[in-house]
Every structure is written in C-alpha cells, then in structure tokens.
Amino acid sequence: MKTFTKFSLWTLLTFTTFLANAQMMNDGIFMAKGNLCGGITYMNDSWNKYWEGALYRENKNLGTLTIQSVVLMGNYGISDRFNLMFSLPYISTKASAGTSQGMSGVQDLTMSVKYRLIQAHNLSVIGSIGGSIPTNNYVADYLPFAIGMQSKTGFARGILYYTLPANLALTVHGTYTARSNMKADREMYYAGKGYFTSEMIMPDIVNFGGKFGHYSYRWQLEATYDQQITQGTLDIRRNDMPGLCDKFDYNKVGFIAAYRVPVLKDLQIMVTGGKILSGRNVGESTTYSIGISKYIDFRKNKTAGIPSGPICRPGDMNHKSGGMEVKKEEHK
C-alpha cells in the first residue's frame, strides 16, 4: 500500500563510515604497546539522488535523506604489532520531504584485531579479523530509514602498507565480510522470488580501497578511494523500496585530514570528506565527519618503555628513534 518509494544507504554507514573515519581499522598504523586511543566522531551523510539498480533518479517524496551518526571508537596496543579495536555508532535518519518518520538508535558493536604479519623493508603486510553484532533489536527491514541490518558479521581484511620518504605512505586494503541471515518483522517478502518466512539472506560483501598521503605524528593528510561489491544479484525494482538482500555497490573518493593540537595535550582533530562517484542501489551521498581522539599511555614505566611514542608506524622498524617524530617536550 505504500505509494511512495525510498532508498537506502546505511550499508555505507556500517562499512565505509568506519573505514573512512577510524583510521585504525584499515590503515598500516598501530598503537604502540600499552597505549589506548579513544575517540568520538560525528558524521553526516546525505543524498538526494540515488541509483535504483542502474537507473539514476531522485525521489521527491523523500527529498534529501540525511544520516547522522556519532561513533565511539577505541584502539588498544596489545603489542606494537598487535592491536585490538572496537567501534559503536549511534545513528539517526531523517528525510526532508514526504510523510515518513526517520529512525534512530545504537547500531552494531564492531570488534577486531589487527596483526602485522610481515615487515619487508618498507612494506608491511597486515591481517585483520573481526566481526560485528547488533547491540539491540533495532528495526532493520525498513530502508532507507533503518539504522542497520540486524545481521551478525565476520570479516577478514588484508592490508598492504608501503612507506615512502617524507612521511608519505601508500595503503591498499581488501575486506571480505560474511553476513548472517537476519529476521525481519514480517513473514513474506519478495527478493527475486517469493519468500514466505521472516528470515532474509544477507549476501556477503567485498570491500577494496586504498589511500595515499602524508602521515606523521602531528599531521595526517590522505586521499582515499573505496569500493564495495555486494555478492548478491538483486537490484531495487522499478519504483520499489530497497530490500535488505539487495546488491549495494559503490565507488567512493575522499580525504582524511588530522592534526594533533599541542596546546590541547595532543588531542587529535580529524576531518574527513567523501563522495560516492558511482553506485548501484545506493545514494549518491556526500559525507563529512569531524572527530576527536586522544591516546592514553598505560605503560607503568614510560621512560624505560620501548617505543617512546604512542603511535607505531610499522615501516619504522626502529620507531623509537623518532619515526613518528614525537618531540620530547610533547611526550613527557
């Protein structure tokens, strides 16, 4: 009976938001042993055009869809080459036109570990595995207003990190995310055929990406590229609402800029931006975020500890000698 249609994009939230924002999850940088980095990020993602399958369109009964989120993140250095990470977002969705109400709530807790497998000269080979779990029974089967997908995921990620002179570095990463089936509130849906059950198949997801730029202790300025390919085959049908089983694909470019402010005890302020260039069943979204993060050194004997800095760039085999250019007066 719904006589309007809508579209969604929260997959971006689940997958790229953190990729773009939480630099820890898919980059080559590690927290040093005994150091915790905690942060909070505000993110704003909006679009007024989308791809319905391959058809590029607008929807006047939706106007602009805005997805705002506040994400808590943490990254702890178990060792200089082994980090434990988590993130937890609160998400809120809203459309500028039409009569439909948006939704909001806490979404999925994501946890992962990242391990530097191999260091060969300037090249780090890094592996990461992790997963996510919904933290509550939020509504999933109501795109584009739903805040998540109610699916448990497990992922494996590979990262290649290559350091260059002048603190330049190139990162390439790829992730395979397996997703569990989810249970919707309804008992019939159409996804290529009729299903008379509340259980929905979530196709797995492949993400690729890369970034290049400057990374030093004080400054970070990188250009990013991300691509998502969903393993399913289902498109949003003509003028239909999106379904959770659909194929959500996109190519996205963006940037990350961050600075640790000396007068704020090296509080890091990070700004990111992103834009979807092309996609399938996703909104042509523009994303920006602003976040702050702070590290805490839990080592008991800080002066005797190795390394001397909180951030550990794997390319710097001997990073205690200033690979991250931590000046002594800033790190007492």
Binding site: A97, V139, D185, M241
Partner: protein
C-alpha cells in the same frame, strides 16, 4: 626477512584459509515457507460434483468438451499404458523435484505462485518527467523502460480481485471435474496395470479421468497469464503449468487422455469465468481527472475537508472507482447499504480532532513492539498485500485439516470472494466519504509506514481482516480466537503507524464482519457438508 616470513607463515595461511572458507559459503534458507506436505486428504469429497458453482455452470455445459473416454481395455488405452511405462522409466531429478513440488496440491501451489506474482508486480508507477503518473495498461504490460509503466500494478484491490477469480475458477473447474470423475469412473494407470509402480506419489484414490491436475493447470494458467501478462511472468507461469499438467504421467498415475481431457475442461471453465471477469466493471475503476474532481467537490459541498494526495507530485487516488466493480456474495444495493452503514465523524467535529491527536500521540511515541506490529501487517508495496497475507494464514489451517483439493478450492473461494467484496466495499466507502489522512490534517504526523495514496475512511486492512477472520472462523472454528485477535491487531497496526484514525479501523472491522457474514451465507448453501 626470511625469518619474519617463516615465523608468520602459519598465521598468513590461516588468514587466507579463513577468507577462502568464508567466500565459498553458499547462501540459502533451510525453509522458504513454500514447503507443503504431500496431499493426503482425510475425506475425498467424491460427491463434490454436486456442489454449487459460482458461475452456475454445470456438467451439461461441457458435454461436447469432454466426451466418453476410451475403455481401459481398448487398444488405444493400452498404447497409453505403454507411454506411461516409458515416461516412468525416464524419471530424473528435475521430474522428481516437479513431482514432489506438485504433490503438495495444485490449489495451494497456484495460490503461492499467485501471491509471489502479486508481490513482484505490486509496485506503484513512478512519475514521469512531466510530473504525471502513467496508468498501467494491459495492452503494453512490458513497458519497463521508464517512459510508461509495467502492468499490472497489483495493489490490494487488484490483488483481491485476482485471488478471488482464480480461486473461483479453480473451484468451478474442480466441481465439474469431480462430476466427470464420478460419471466415468476410470481408474488410474497404476490400478489398471500392476506393473506400473507410482514414483514418489501414493496410489491415487480419486478416479483418473479427467486429470484434476491438468484441469487446475489449464484454468490457473489461462487466468494468471491475463492477470500477469508481462513476458517473464507468462513464461514462468507456462513452465509451472506444463509441470503440473504432466507430472502425474511422469509419476505413472495419469495417462495422456486423462490429462488432455483435463486441459480441455480447464480451458472451457476458464472461458465461463473470464466472461464475468471482462465485464465486472474493473475497466472503469481507475477513473479520470473529472471523476476524481467530482469526488472532491461532493465532499466539500458537504462541508467536509476532502482527501488530497500527500505526494510531492500529487498522485491520483488508487482505483477511485473500484467500489463499482461487481461483488461476489451480494448485489449492488446490498453492497452500497453495507458500505455506508457506519458513517465517519465529521472532519469539523471535536471527536475527529481528538482522533487526530490520538494518531499523533502514537507516532510521537513509537515503541519497538508497536513498530513490529505495524511492519508485520503493513503488506505494502512489493508484497502479497493484506488479502495475500490472509491466504498465507489460511494455508496453514487448510494443510493441517488435510482437506481434499476441491474442498481447499471451495474454502479459498469463500475466503477470497469475501475479501474481494471487502475490497469493493471499502473502496466504495473511501470514495463516498473521501476522508483525508491524518498527515493531511496535521502535517507534523510522521508515519511509521508508507502513507497510502487514497482516502482514509475506512481502513482497508481492517475491512479485509474482519471479512477474512469471519470466514476463516466459520471454516476453522478452532482458530476463531486467533483469527479475531489477528484481525484486531492488523486493524490497530494502521492506527499505530499513523496512517488511520481509530474510526477508520473500527468502521472497517464492523463493515468487514458484515461482508464476511455474506460469504458464510453462501458457504451454508453451496451443498458442502
């Protein structure tokens, strides 16, 4: 360097293995909800040939369509027996799958197929570049390129009508088939020749001529391909039809002449029912700008606020004149009397304002439990619609009751004619009062489900659900309490979702009950014990 690699080789391999394992996982559901047990009726209803048909068609109408079959002792029949043996020997996995699938019974299988096609085609036209909404046309069903629109848009009234006609046509065809089975009393080939061992299926207890599966295949296919004429859908239906037509030959329990007679009969009964379908008033149900304007004017002349589309480019009301389409279980006078027997509150009244405030209190304070109820019963765009949902509910009870196919068809016809009448009545009421939706009165009401693009009073979900629960309670008294609770919940879901006032829901339930009672009157006089 070498050491570093060696140290990590196990970890690296494990990570690669993990990725390989994860990516090779096949995605499937253990159950997709279409599973049906093989038919095993507790009562064959062998006397069903005397039951009352909807189109008043009787055995005499088919004297020239199905003639006396060859005797089982004839050479012609013996050749057929040889063919059965040959086909049985050709059994393969595809045929086994088909036999298992159709062993669940054609009535329920076609009902599932139809609900799937309703869901597939239940998508409103998109507005074109000029800001207009193209009207779906059966003359151009495949218009999928965005300049026009595909046919059909199987919205709830369209779906209710489709379910009712296919159920009625199957029922009428099976009644005639049962009369012929009793008349000719031809055994199935496995009973004639003991060397034929049925594949998968149990030996049939019904007489074999004409094949009830071929009857159902023909009548269902002929109707459904006209209801869902897109090429892809017609092809899908054709494959299903061919399977059901032949599977009992593959299984060794029907002969070619059983099947050919069944197909002829199915087509002939289809023609009878289709004659009614073509002239039931659906052709004028869409209306036109002048008709829609006059509905608005009539409402405003009464001093009431008239419904208007809340879409950004206003969309014409869905099938505004569907209330004039022919009903099944009552005449026009009866229908209009019932449809206007519970008037709404005036949009100027204090009572109405209180109902608007009540809607807003629900949408301003949604709970997870209420949202689940809203979504469970929404049955909106891209779904089987509320009448389809009630067929899904009925299916479980029909299966559990182990009914004969002709009784299943009769019960689904009672259910679906009641919901067709509910649809006609509700749309008559909607256009008669032309009552605005809550979000039109108070645009701060943000709904929890899609706002339907037609007037508010009465609630379609409430009318459908009350009609359906009334009929199902008659057919399955043990489930009455459950059906009643489901109807009440379906009704309330529309208030919780912010798209209906309480009066829409209560009015719909009251009228729906009256329409269900009309179907029961028919059920009490159709000769079925």
């Amino acid at each position: 360097m070498k050491m570093i690699i060696t140290e990590n080789i196990k970890l690296t391999l494990s990570a690669m293995l993990l990725v390989a394992v994860m990516s090779s996982c096949e995605k499937y559901l253990d159950r997709d909800g279409t599973e049906l047990p093989a038919l095993s009726p507790t009562n064959l209803d062998a006397n069903a040939g005397s039951w009352k048909t909807y189109t008043a068609t009787t055995l005499a109408d088919y004297a020239s369509v199905v003639t006396t079959p060859d005797a089982v002792t004839s050479d012609k029949y013996k050749q057929e027996i040889e063919e059965v043996k040959t086909e049985v020997s050709k059994i393969d996995d595809a045929r086994r799958d088909a036999i298992r699938y159709w062993s669940g019974g054609g009535v329920l299988r076609w009902n599932q197929i139809m609900r799937e096609l309703v869901a597939k085609n239940n998508l409103p036209p998109a507005e074109n570049e000029q800001g207009f909404y193209p009207i779906p046309s059966s003359a151009d069903p495949n218009n999928l390129n965005g300049t026009g629109t595909a046919f059909p848009f199987s919205n709830p009234p369209y779906a209710a009508r489709a379910y009712s006609y296919v159920s009625v046509a199957q029922y009428d065809a099976l009644v005639i088939a049962m009369a012929l089975k009793a008349k000719y009393a031809r055994k199935s080939p496995n009973a004639v020749d003991v060397n034929i061992v049925p594949v998968i299926l149990a030996a049939p207890k019904l007489n074999s001529f004409p094949s009830e599966d071929a009857v159902m295949a023909a009548v269902s296919y002929e109707f459904l391909k006209r209801l869902f004429p897109q090429s892809a859908d017609t092809l899908f239906l054709y494959k299903k039809k061919e399977e059901q037509k032949w599977f009992k030959l593959w299984a060794g329990v029907s002969t070619r002449s059983d099947i050919e007679a069944g197909e002829k009969l199915g087509k002939a009964v289809f023609a009878k029912v289709f004659a009614r379908f073509r002239t039931d008033g659906m052709a004028n149900a869409v209306g036109a700008q002048s008709k829609w304007d006059s509905l608005t004017k009539r409402c405003e002349e009464r001093g009431e606020i008239a419904w208007k589309s809340m879409e950004t480019s206003p969309r014409p009301p869905m099938l505004a004149l569907f209330g004039n389409v022919m009903t099944w279980n009552m005449d026009k006078k009866n229908l209009t009397d019932i449809s206007t027997s519970v008037p709404p509150l005036s949009t100027n009244s204090e009572g109405f304002k209180a109902q608007v405030a009540e809607v807003k209190s629900y949408t301003d304070n949604p709970t997870r439990e209420r949202i689940a109820i809203v979504h469970y019963w929404a049955d909106g765009a891209g779904t089987q619609t509320p009448p389809g949902h009630w067929n899904q509910i009925a299916e479980k009870y029909i299966v559990a009751a182990k009914q004969s196919e002709v009784r299943m068809a009769r019960n689904l016809a009672l259910l679906n004619t009641a919901m067709m009448d509910a649809s006609v009545s509700c749309w008559y009421t909607k256009s008669f009062y032309y009552c605005p939706r809550p979000s039109q009165i108070d645009n701060s009401i943000k709904t929890l489900t899609g706002l339907p693009n037609f007037p508010s009073y009465t609630s379609g979900h409430s009318t459908f659900s009350a009609a359906a629960s009334t009929v199902l309670s008659y057919l399955f008294p043990d489930g009455a309490t459950t059906f009643q609770a489901q109807a009440d919940e379906a009704s309330k879901s529309r208030l919780y979702g912010g798209i209906h006032y309480k009066m829409d829901c209560e009015g719909g339930l009251k009228i729906g009950k009256m329409l269900g009672d009309k179907a029961i009157l028919r059920g009490q006089s159709d000769g079925v014990q």
